[in-house]
Structure formats: C-alpha cells, structure tokens
C-alpha cells in the first residue's frame, strides 16, 4: 500500500532527487538537434528559415541564406545527396519528408539578380598566398571564404573550367551547364588566380613555391577497375564510368553501342546508364552484386533510371567478359544470394544456379572510386594511414603537415558535394587561423546562435503554425520522348512557384522551438490536453529508460531527446518527447501563464572571420 500511497493523487509527493536531469537548453546543440534537417546537413544550412522565405516568395533572401551556407544552392537543389530529407521530422509523422532539396532549387530558379549582395574581392591584400589543388566544390568554398578576407588564392585544376566533379561527373540532364557556370562564376568573380589546364605532379615542388597554406581538393579521381577474364582483350568496349562520364561532359564521346551493361549500384552507375540511354543505348541494363535495397544509389536515382526503361538486375557477380577476338560479346554473371556469416556480417554466396550470359556491345564499369595520391611524395611531412590515405583531422581538415589541408573526396574518400562544402568552410577557418598565428583547434570561432520568442499577439505567431495536411508534391519531369533525345535536356523541371509554396507549407518549422519555463507552470494540463501528438507528460521523474515507458504516447526513438523541466510544485516534472512534435505552438497558445513559448532557434555555423559580416 505504501507505494500506492506515494502515487496517490500525486500532488503532495516528495520531489524525486533521482532520475533525469533538467534539460540544459543553453547548450546550442540541444535545440539544434531538434531541427533535424539542419543537424543532419553537413553544412548545417538553416533549412526551415529558408523554406519559410520561399513560402513568402522571398526567393532571393532564401537563396542568400543557402549561398552563405552551402555556396552552390542551384547545383545542390538539383544534385544534393540530401541527408536532410531522411532526417526530416515530417517523414516520421507522415509518409514522406519535405522535398527540401527541390525547394532549394525553387529559390535558385526564381531569385532576382543577387550579384549586388555577394562579397567583392578585397582591395586590401593581406599578403598571404594559398594554393588550392582542384577547382571542385571543396576548393571553391575555400576560395569564397578566404578571398574577401584579403588572401591571394591560386587555384590549380587539370581541366580548363571550374567545377570539378560537378562538371565532369554529373550529367547535364541533371545539372545544366548554365546553373553550374553561374555559381562557379560568383566565386571566380572574387578574382582568384587561375592555373587551369595544369596538373600538379609534385607536392614537393608546390610546397617549395612559398605558399602560406595548401588545400588539397582534387577529389577521388580514380574509378575502380574490374580485373576479370576478358578485361584486357575486350578493352575497346569496356569503359571506366567516371572517366567515360567526364569524356561525355567535355564532348569527347557522343555515342555508345545499342546494348549497354552498366556494372555497379551507386549513383555513378545511375548516371552512366541514363547517359547511355541518351547516346544511342537502346537496351541498357544495370547489373549489381548486391540486392536492390543494399544498393548505394539514392532511391530517387534508382527510380529515375527505372523510369527511363532501364532494368536493374541484382545479386549477380560479374565473372568474365565474353569476347570474340577482342570484340566484346557479353558478360557472364554468377548468381549469388546474401546471407549473414557467423559474425553477422552480410556476405554474398553463390546460389549454385547456372551462370547467366548477358549480351552487350559496351560495358561501363562503375564499381567505386578511389583516392590516388601518386603525386604526393611521402617525405613532405604528410603521414598516410594503412589504407594509403592521408591522416586528416576531422574538425580542422589539417594533415600532419600543418600547412597542408585536405577536403572533399580527397580527405576521407568519396562523399558528396555538400560534404565537400562543409570541409571547405572548416579548412578555410583553419587556414585563416593558421595565417593569423592562432591555434587551428583551440581558437575556432563558435557558431552564431539566436533564440527569440515568436509571439506576436495573444494567439498569433510570426510563423504559420497551421499544419498542412498535403502529401509530398512530385516534381514534374520533361516527357521521356524528349528527355531521352538529348543528353543536355534537363529531366526535372522543378516546382513552379505555386507547387513550391504548397510544398514549403509542409515544413513543420522545427526551428520554432517549444521552450518551457518551470517556474511559470501551474500544472493545469492544458498543454497535455491540446497537444495533437501527445508529446507532453507530467509525471514523476525517473531514468530515461523508465520515463520513456511512462509517457502519454510511446517514445521508442532514443535518437530523439526527452525535454525535461526542473521539479515542479507537485514534485513532478514535465517531460516532452521531441520525436513527434509538430511545432504547431498549441501548447504555448493554451498555456495560461506563458510557461511554454515558441522561440525561433537560429544557428549559423562559423566561417572564416569576416565572411560572417557579409
């Protein structure tokens, strides 16, 4: 009975000294994590803020928020790997996340001329010279961050145009040249010194040229090959995917055979097969070792490929290239299935069924990319690890040679554009600190953080808190008959402003945070009663594991925090499960004392010094 008494009306029970600690909302990470998209984005772009601006038709403002954060909004709005979308809260409370990536494109497509809002080349050179190797997204980000500060930046690239893999590996039907040129030019207008068409063959030689710092952003330029019988003999019709895409990009290749097999299951394979369809490939097949679900390609890229009549065959391991006196005839595959080994790792084992021969005229090999640094002498002070990759600090991007930095695919192997940009920002901060005689680790600037009430009136907020019930809108495509005729015709047409508005309205405004003030609460339960997602509970404190079982609605997602108040008058605590919150603000509207408030959390990651005051 004593336990029953302790629970009883609960109202005079003693405070529970044990259990979870009150949430420390002064730590910017707490509210940042609630903004799932921004937290998941490597560049931490303030997503909900620019989505609201799109909804308001302020495309240029939305573009500038993006540009300051991720440098290539138009490019990324078409090609980003969008780690924000799987993280999007909308995907947890409903079927699909907000189309964040394609909304970014809406801002880029509909903006006005924003050139007068961009930084200009500094007239006051600070005398520091920085070399950037490669003119891809990582290097261009470093250039953009450092040029306005007065640095002299020299960019080397083997190609004659800026863009790196954005230009050579992303087909034009996904990323029109005009979009890429525009955003590269915003940076080239800051007047870096360009040494294009010039390969760097020796780090030692470059290091001898009196640079204050060197940034390596040359990507992962080597496509992995497939050493199976027939490879040498049939070489004329077997191509390495990324090299082939690059040749197509520069117009060196304009045709491919009628029957094409693409080996590999990543995004490069998807680009290869779709490009083949446009260069004369009538029967194009993708063949992948793994199962369909395990493929590395993004789901939407697989959908787009299949939508163009390209079948994907899974669980087939290439065994041999069949040829007739050097003329490629087809590829032989072994059928496999996935199973778990004793340690629980997935492995592919032959099914024992007969091998399959698929006939073809050309094969594109897209089975992965590698970094290659034959041009970095091993005695320039850069240590390499056992995978022959340079040792690079994940925060500062500094190698073991304090003056040499890495970023993008060069740093930690193939990732994507948004990671390259994030690396670029961090490397620029480090280079700026290094050149100012500061510590690249200890002196890193903190992010800019702001938390401000959005209350405008008794039940009015500065944001639209009415939750849209719309499902995710589909981006319209160019009709297939037209799209497949020309490798330069963009497939996706982007949202028009109306669809863009409606999609933007699906955003839950997760950056408008529910902030609780313990001492104002009178425990009337109004917030508990109104909450459409049953996120809020008033109960006795306990350990997190225990508390998660005692909430109004189940809280089984440990990656999402519980927000805990201090001990309330009745000895209980307020617990809010952040997981399903719609940020509709009804808790704050129904709160008679203002214990709940909706406050906008704005976080801008630090950038190299004065770039912040753009």
């Amino acid at each position: 009975m004593s336990s029953a008494l302790a629970e009883e009306p609960g109202l005079k029970g003693p405070a529970h000294p044990t259990g979870m600690k009150p949430t420390d909302v002064s730590n910017p990470d707490y509210f940042h994590k609630v903004v799932d998209c921004q937290w998941a984005c490597p560049a931490h772009t303030p997503v909900p803020e620019y989505i609201r601006l799109i909804a308001a038709g302020r495309y240029s403002d939305a573009y500038m928020i993006n540009w300051e954060s991720n440098v290539f909004p138009g490019v990324l709005g078409r090609t980003c790997d969008r780690p924000c979308e799987p993280a999007c809260r909308r995907g947890r409370v409903e079927a699909e996340p907000v189309a964040i990536c394609r909304l970014k494109r809406v801002a880029a497509d509909n903006k006005d001329d924003i050139r007068d809002r961009l930084p200009v080349a500094s007239h006051h050179k600070n005398g520091k010279r920085i070399a950037l190797i490669g003119a891809g997204p990582a290097s261009l980000t470093v250039a953009r961050d450092l040029l306005p500060l007065g640095y002299t930046v020299v960019i080397y690239d083997q190609d004659k145009l800026a863009g790196g893999m954005m230009r050579t590996q992303i087909p034009k039907f996904r990323l029109p040249e005009t979009v890429l040129d525009e955003e590269c030019n915003y940076i080239l207008d800051l007047q870096p010194e360009l040494k294009f068409g010039q390969r760097i063959d020796s780090m030692k030689a470059l290091a001898g040229e009196n640079y204050d710092a060197i940034f390596v952003g040359c990507g992962a330029p080597r496509g992995r090959d497939l050493e199976i019988p027939g490879r040498m003999e049939a070489v004329a019709n077997i191509h390495i995917g990324i090299d082939w895409l690059s040749s197509v990009s520069f117009g060196h290749i304009e045709k491919i055979g009628k029957r094409v097999i693409v080996l590999g299951g990543g995004n490069t394979a998807m680009d290869c097969c779709r490009t083949s369809r446009r260069l004369g490939g009538e029967k194009v097949d993708v063949v992948v070792r793994s199962g369909f679900e395990e493929m590395k390609a993004s789901p939407w890229e697989k959908d787009d490929a299949m939508g163009e009549g390209i079948p994907i065959h899974n669980n087939l391991v290439p065994k041999e290239f069949k040829h007739d006196g050097g003329k490629l005839k087809g590829v032989v595959f072994e059928k496999v299935k996935a199973q778990r080994d004793a340690k629980g790792r997935r492995e592919l084992v032959p099914t024992g069924e007969p091998d399959v021969l698929m006939e073809c005229d050309d094969v594109l090999v897209a089975v992965g990319q590698e970094n290659a640094f034959p041009w970095i002498e091993r005695d320039v002070g850069i240590e390499f690890d056992r995978w022959d990759m340079p040792k690079v600090d994940t925060v500062t991007m500094q190698s073991t040679n304090p003056k040499i930095f890495f970023g993008g695919d060069s740093a930690f192997g193939p990732k994507n554009i948004i990671w390259a940009v994030a690396h670029g920002h961090e490397a620029a901060i480090s280079i700026d600190l290094l050149c100012s005689g500061k510590d690249v680790k200890a002196d890193r600037p903190p992010p800019l953080v702001n938390l401000m009430s959005q209350k405008m009136g008794i039940h009015e907020w500065s944001y639209d808190n009415d939750i849209s019930n719309d499902l995710r809108y589909k981006v319209p495509h160019t009709p297939k008959e037209i799209a497949l005729k020309n490798v330069k015709i963009e497939v996706e047409l982007g949202f028009d402003p109306k669809a863009g508005f409606l999609e933007a309205q699906r955003c839950l405004n997760c950056d408008i945070e529910t902030v609780f003030e313990t001492k104002l609460c009178i425990e009337c339960d109004a917030c508990v009663d109104i909450c459409p997602m049953d996120c809020i509970t008033f109960t006795e404190n306990g350990d997190e594991e225990d508390l998660r079982t005692r909430l109004t609605a189940p809280a089984p997602n440990p990656t999402q925090d519980l927000y805990l108040s201090e001990i309330l008058k009745t000895g209980r605590v307020m617990v809010k499960d952040e997981d399903m919150c719609l940020h509709c603000g009804l808790c704050a509207e129904r709160c008679p004392t203002g214990a709940w408030d909706m406050k906008k959390f704005y976080l801008e990651p630090a950038q190299a010094e004065s770039c912040r005051s753009l």
């Binding site: 009975m1 029953a4 008494l5 629970e7 009883e8 009306p9 609960g10 109202l11 005079k12 947890r92 409370v93 409903e94 039940h459 009015e460 808190n465 009415d466 939750i467 019930n469 009178i522 425990e523 009337c524 339960d525 109004a526 508990v528 009663d529 109104i530 459409p532 997602m533 049953d534 996120c535 609605a553 189940p554 089984p556 008058k569 009745t570 399903m580 719609l582 509709c584 009804l586 509207e589 129904r590 709160c591 008679p592 004392t593």
Partner: protein
C-alpha cells in the same frame, strides 16, 4: 481560444481500443475556452474514459445548459448526440431523452451556475428520480462568461480579484447525497489519475451518478485566496480513497491487506477497486459520508474521491416499470393496440 484547428496528424504509435479507435477519435472541435481552463482537462478526461471503455461514440448523448461548462460537450465526442438546452434546463431535457431512449449513455455536463443557481430545482429533481446518467458539474465557483462574479458554490470568505464572498455555499455533493443519488464523487480537474477512473465508474453505473469536479477558472478565480484555485485545491485535497476501474472479465489477481481494499462489482460485471486512503471511510454508508463531508468542509478541506456508491442502484425506468425496449422504437401497433385492448384495460378498473 485558438485560431487554428487541431492538426489532423497524430502520433503513429497511439494505442487503439477494442473498437480500433485511438483517443483522438473521441475528440470534438477545438476548445474556445480560455487557455488553462480546468474544463478542458475534464473534457480530455471524458475522452480518455470513453476511449478506455470502448464506447461507440454514437451510443452517447451529451446534454448541457448554458455557461462555460455547457460549451464543453462540443469539445469532445464529435460523433455523439448532443443537446445544448436552455440555462439550467438540461436535467429535464435529459430526463425526457432518457425516458424516450433508455439505450443511450447520458452525460449531463453542467457548471456551478447552471446547476446550483438557475437550475438548482432541475438538478434536484433529476437526481431524486434516479435518472440513469452521469451528471458532471464543472465547478469553478464563478460566472466566467459574465466576467467572474461569485457563483452559488463559492465558499464563504473566498476571495476573487476584487471581492470577498459573504454567502454560504451550496455543496452539490452533499445535496446529491440527500437527494438519493446512487453514485456520488468529487474530483479535481488537475488530477486526471483520480478523475478518469471515477468517470469510467460513473459511466458504467446504472443510476444517478453525480460528480462534482473542482475546475479552476484561470481567468477569474485562480488567485491565491480563492478556494477553487489550482494551488488551494492541491494543498487542501483530502482524497478518501483511490479508485481503480477494472473491466468486466478482467481478473483481480493481487492480494491486498485486509481492510485496505474494497472490491465492488457493478451491474455490468465491471469491478471497482477502492483503495482506502483515509482510515475507516466507508463509501457505502450514505449517512457517514454526509457527516464526513461536513466535518472536513468545516476544516477547510476539499474532500475528493468516490464518496458514496450503491452497488445495487435502481433507476427511473425501474421505478416506472417501463419495458426494456426503448420507447422511441415502439411502433404504432404497440402504442395503439386497438379498441379491444382499451376495453380490457377499462374493464380491469371496474
């Protein structure tokens, strides 16, 4: 009040009852009451009680009069029958509806003004007749809609922002006991753990069940010197027992110390487990309950819990010996049996 409607999206992991409904399927339209109003918590408790009892919403009729409290039926059970009557006249409409169709679950949702002032006579007769219903008085001691004058249930000496009440209060619970209600309870809107089981027991009770729920008016009567404020009720709450509602068919397996727990089986087979919190309080003794209430009211305490229960109640239909079939479903044949039958009836009185 709130300008937006409550979002349709709901937590994907919400529990479902035996009908496949979540508690959100028992909601009504969004409340237009003031933020923090105790009445909203009572609405939420009713929603939860109906959800847990697997009640089909179309089996419920909610009736009310006039006042803040009487607006609340709109905020729950959007798929149930509703009747918003004249001020203080809900009990007669409810009685009539119950006579016409005894198959529905009747909820009379009223307030201290509607029940203890203008409708006191109606309240008394409805309870006295033993109408099978749950009569809920959302009691905040003030007239909220007319800006907070003291109502008839305000305690003598209770203070509002601008005045001190000098009149004696009407205690609806004591009145219900005197009038013969077969289920009498008091609770507090700020204590759903207590309120929800009481509502479930009252809904399943087949007789006149009266629950007085102290429900603070945040706007006009939640100041420190009010006896109907959140703080005052929490500090002076004397719960006599704790009620657990146990579904019909569910087994009680735990043993209890003798004398601490009382199990009462209701008509429908559901069981009420009463854990005693106050010594010898016996919820089946009407006279002792009245005495207890008076003693503790004199001490300034708010007695809550299940105060009186008659496990074998009789309702109005039993008193009138009506047939089991709801009267509103009888056809012309049954209602007008013909001249021969009339002659037989007349003959029986000769």
């Amino acid at each position: 009040m709130t300008y937006i409607t409550k979002p349709k999206l709901r937590h994907p992991g919400l529990p479902k009852n035996n009908l496949g409904f979540t508690h959100r399927d028992y909601e009504g339209s969004i409340s237009t009451l003031c933020a923090g109003c105790g009445h909203d918590s009572i609405s939420a408790s009713l929603i939860q009680a109906c959800f847990e009892l697997d009640i089909e919403p179309h089996r419920v009729a909610k009736l009310s009069g006039i006042g803040c409290s009487s607006k609340t039926p709109d905020y729950l059970l959007g798929n149930s029958h509703g009747f918003n009557s004249v001020h203080g006249r809900m009990p007669s409409v409810l009685t009539g509806a119950n006579l016409a169709n005894r198959d529905l679950i009747y909820m009379g949702i009223s307030g201290d003004g509607d029940s203890a002032s203008i409708g006191l006579g109606q309240f008394a007769h409805c309870v006295r007749r033993g109408v099978n219903m749950v009569y809920i008085c959302e009691n905040n001691g003030v007239y909220g809609l007319t800006k907070g004058q003291f109502s008839a249930t305000a305690d003598k000496g209770s203070k509002s922002k601008t005045a001190v009440n000098s009149d004696s209060p009407i205690d609806l619970v004591s009145l219900a006991l005197i009038l013969g209600a077969t289920f009498v309870a008091r609770s507090f809107s700020g204590d759903k753990k207590q309120l929800i089981p009481l509502l479930k027991a009252a809904i399943t009770h087949r007789g006149s069940a009266v629950i007085d729920v102290v429900s603070p008016c945040v706007q006009f009567n939640n100041n420190p010197a009010s006896t109907k404020s959140y703080d005052f009720v929490r500090e002076h709450n004397e719960a006599v027992n704790r009620l657990d509602f146990i579904e019909p068919r569910a087994q009680i397996t735990v043993d209890y110390e003798p004398g601490t727990v009382e199990i009462v089986t209701q008509h429908d087979g559901s069981q009420l487990k009463l854990s005693k919190l106050h010594g010898s309080y016996d919820a089946r003794d009407r006279v002792a309950a009245m005495t207890y209430l008076q003693e503790h009211h004199a001490k300034g305490e708010v007695v809550t819990g299940l105060l009186y229960l008659d496990p074998e109640p009789e309702d109005l239909h039993a008193h009138l010996n009506t047939i089991a079939t709801p009267l509103n479903t009888l056809g012309e044949k049954e209602l007008c049996p013909g001249a021969k039958k009339l002659a037989d009836v007349n003959e029986s009185y000769r």
